[in-house]
Amino acid sequence: MSTEANVLFDAPGPRARRRHLVIAVVGSLGILALLYLVISALAAKGQFTADKWSPFLDPVTWTSYLLPGLRATLVAAFFSVILAIVCGILLGMGRLSEAAPVRWACGVFVEFFRAVPVLMMMLFAYYVFLFGLQISGEALPLLGVIAGLTFYNSSVIAELIRSGVGSLPKGQREAGLAIGLTPFAALRLVLLPQAVTIMLPSIVSQLVVILKDSALGFLILYPELVRSGQTLASLEGNIIPTFIVIAAIFIIINYLLTRLAHYLERRLQARRRGPRMPEAPLVSPEMAPGAALTAPGQA
């Protein structure tokens, strides 16, 4: 990853450095001009006046709009993550099951819900809870958001689990079976823990997706960050500053999660490199030829 940037060009010499400097100056001027255009357009429409931004210095803005909104977003994301991981592991195990009908049913479920937009599932779940189960009040939109996110993300996590198990060496399962585990026990005790560990970075990245998708709850009136921000903006008449603040909140949280995923990935790679024994030659030089050697697997 770190070397990818300098594959395409030589270490620049003096002339190339001068040329790059010129391009860099022109390029940054271009980018700055673009930024200036956007900012001056916003300023011309009065988006940077103090009264558009002063609401964010008022603690009430935070305590009664943004923080409750953020809380609602995090609550929906939290329950969806837990449910999606549990259901995802079960579905993933189902797809790897010995019993063909189970495998088939889980496969259809996963493929179907991966192909359907999250927003549609959210709308569907919302109206099923409303009309079918007669749920109403505050719990209704929350349940809709959680159900929609869970359906989709458990399917994604099931696929992650399946590819994680697929990436394990075959010997892991065979060793499990050899010591007398049933196929299911081998999956549960030997393969699954390793697959979850391998896929941990991807699962953390999926958290970012869940957090972003929770904003779709807007359409079913869930008071998450974007909706509560819009309520605030219609009160204060500062929709653009509010969207900028909300975007910043999302970007910070998701950026930290992405960094966590990268950190986990690097740690896992280091661990995989670390303790594994280097491929030892079968016959070490000290041993005389003909010494009683039994290669593993021949005994």
């Binding site: 990818e4 395409l8 860099a24 109206y127 807007f218 970007i251």
Partner: protein, 228 residues
């Protein structure tokens, strides 16, 4: 139930809604490919300013919810700032469509750029080194040697981006573009008793849209793979 369904289909034009979804997806895909390619080139360019601009774009856009980006375009630029795309006198729904496409393109461009970058990374170092050795400069080696291979290597991830884009067109329902999920909402509110049938029909529509794309891109990526 069958009576109800035929009544429902007479009332709501499902085909028109899915046609809107297809139009949104096609226009946004073209835009995303254009912006994404520019960003990807910036990310591998020798000039540091471009590299950091590309990285910033991807980091910012990838971590922002699509809903928020679409709102920014529709409520921010269109409603509040009164910017219009194209003809000044075009009606509101046309403007909403265009701003929705722009939002979708901006968002998915970040993912296109990442897909292309992974494609560029999959091109062996020796290719770029050979290109440099015969005297090609950055733009020549990029356009003649590396990018053609990178696009081939990026086909599978680009296919995933396209599938995600098709599904994400539903997000513009939040700004009132009459695509499939917007229609589904109306249909369910009109006939709550048929909710399961409505969901299965609309969801199947998306399966029909995305399944061939997945198959096509898998075949393409296998057929066009550079043999190494």
């Amino acid at each position: 139930m069958l009576n109800g369904l035929s009544e429902l289909f007479a009332e709501y034009d499902v085909m028109a809604a899915f046609w809107m979804t297809i139009k949104l997806a096609a226009a946004a895909a073209a835009g995303a490919l254009l912006i994404g390619t520019i960003i990807a080139i910036m990310r591998v360019s020798p000039v540091r300013v471009f590299r950091s601009f590309g990285t910033t774009y991807v980091t910012v856009i990838r971590n922002t919810p699509l809903t928020l980006i679409v709102f920014f375009c529709a409520f921010g630029f269109y409603i509040t700032l009164q910017y219009r795309i194209g003809a000044q006198d075009s009606p509101i729904d046309v403007q909403n469509f265009r701003w929705g496409v722009l939002g979708l393109a901006i968002y998915h461009a970040a993912f296109v750029a990442e897909a292309l970058r992974s494609g560029i990374n999959s091109v062996p170092k020796g290719q770029a080194e050979a290109a440099r050795a015969i005297g090609l400069d950055f733009s020549q080696s990029l356009s003649n040697v590396v990018l053609p291979q990178a696009f081939r290597g990026a086909i599978a991830p680009l296919g995933n981006v396209l599938i995600a884009l098709i599904k994400n067109t539903t997000v513009v329902a939040t700004i009132g573009v009459a695509e499939a999920s917007y229609l589904m909402k109306g249909m369910i509110e009109f006939r709550p008793d048929l909710i399961y049938a409505i969901f299965v029909i609309m969801a199947t529509g998306f399966v029909i849209l995305t399944l061939p794309v997945g198959v096509l891109f898998t075949t393409l990526s296998r057929r066009l793979a550079v043999r190494r």
